[in-house]
Symmetry: C2
Subunit: 261 residues, 2 copies
């Protein structure tokens, strides 16, 4: 199974601590050695780093671990190939432009019998179910609106689309345009919001502890979303099955109602 | 003025030698310190590395210099900001998907009074004339064809569009979809095709010599395109003003006729 990691903050923050544990799941503490990628939004721009090697061996991961890129929105993914060959074109996250902004998407899960028709606006380049689902999401949004709609309408429609696609299988995903971040839990997804008073936290995957009080200001607020909790001494909240959440400035803005059984 | 570098080959080749001289133009041997970027196609996938720091200071450039990524199509750019702030969103190369492939574009020059209308398919994210020109190019291509047309038709239409846009100023550019590479010379662009028998070459910007015979096979063919020749002991061919060229597998396939005066 693939691993997802997302971060949404009210101030540009580096992801070194979370990435330290996360990247070890790519071939060292877990079996996800079929490539990995990470996208950092910086203003309207996006730095997308992809590698089709495992994240513990990757020189790009080495760069990320030693070059503290500060960002308000980050999405990372470690891949365990289920559909589609191991190749750069099939490596998450995927990026497209919509409504004059870059959108980034990463998916964990497996969609069965999922064949999206070729879109008018968006087409996949690789051959994964994940990129096809991303293109379908954007296609339906762009068909409906030629400019970004109010957030409540956007949320409601993405919730509908997510439910439709999730009928094909496991659909844990993250989606961001550098301002807002959507996270959808299908089977496994957890989040935590860190804010003052900051305390210490200890990584599950590595014997590393960070004292957030020493690296933050009292106004900082950081939401971290991950497949499995990254720390073993903080209270992570699991997503309910079929739950969509919208984060902005480190705050969960909207949660969907529990999905119908 | 910005600097462009492109490579198109018949076998995946690393760009370390050319990049060694090229990256020094970003703040050391020349004044282009407003960011840089490089795109490597690997199959249908594309690895796009961007940095809004100068290329001599950039840890991403350090990565490129020490991690020999092999690719058949590469486009790199060092920026001297003329229009648009220094930011990641304004850093070349730019990427979009068209006809189910990624397209990469980088531009050297300055377009005056150039305002492209918001496209149906493509919109700029940043605020440079370059990204606006890229989006206009793709918009007009995508409006005309919903699938990639034969190369001669594609070439003829890109030539028309390039002439239209070049009426606004200097429009040296490179454009690739990972299979073919277009290069358009407006004021300054040079190319060379290296093939057997391979010889030695010496960089203009650095006292480095490479013996291509020792790093190639007799069947290799590599076209390198750059704003200014990168070596001082090879015969680079200058583009004529208004000349468009199409490269595939290291071979110049088509050259436009000399543009009308």
């Amino acid at each position: 199974m693939c691993q997802l990691l997302g971060m949404n903050c009210n101030t540009p923050t580096d992801i070194l601590f979370s990435f330290e544990g996360f990247h070890r799941r790519g071939g060292l503490t877990d079996h996800h050695a079929d490539g990995w990628g990470i996208a950092f939004f910086e203003g309207r721009g996006c730095r997308l780093l992809l590698d089709d090697r495992s994240s513990v061996e990757s020189p790009v991961a080495h760069l990320v671990r030693h070059y503290p890129i500060k960002s308000q929105n980050v999405i990372a993914h470690i891949r365990k190939a289920t559909q589609g060959r191991i190749s750069l074109a099939n490596t998450h996250p995927f990026m497209r432009e919509m409504w004059g902004k870059y959108w980034i998407f990463a998916h964990n899960g497996d969609l069965k019998d999922f064949a999206a028709p070729a879109g008018h606006f968006y087409r996949p380049v690789g051959d994964t179910d994940s990129e096809a689902a991303f293109c379908l999401l954007l296609e339906r949004l762009r068909q409906r609106w030629s400019e970004q709609p109010p957030l409540d309408e956007l949320f409601a429609f993405i919730e509908t689309l997510a439910r439709e696609i999730a009928a094909h299988g496991t659909f844990n995903f993250m989606l961001s345009n550098g301002d807002i971040l959507f996270a959808h839990g299908s089977t496994q997804l957890h989040y935590i919001v860190r804010q003052a008073p900051f305390t210490k936290a200890h990584l599950v995957d590595d014997d590393v502890t960070v004292d957030f009080a020493s690296v933050t200001t009292p106004d900082d607020r950081v939401a971290v979303i991950a497949t499995q909790p990254l720390t073993d001494d903080e209270a992570w909240t699991p997503f309910e099955a079929g739950q969509l959440m919208l984060f902005r400035d480190g705050t969960p803005l909207v949660k969907s109602a529990k999905a119908p059984d």
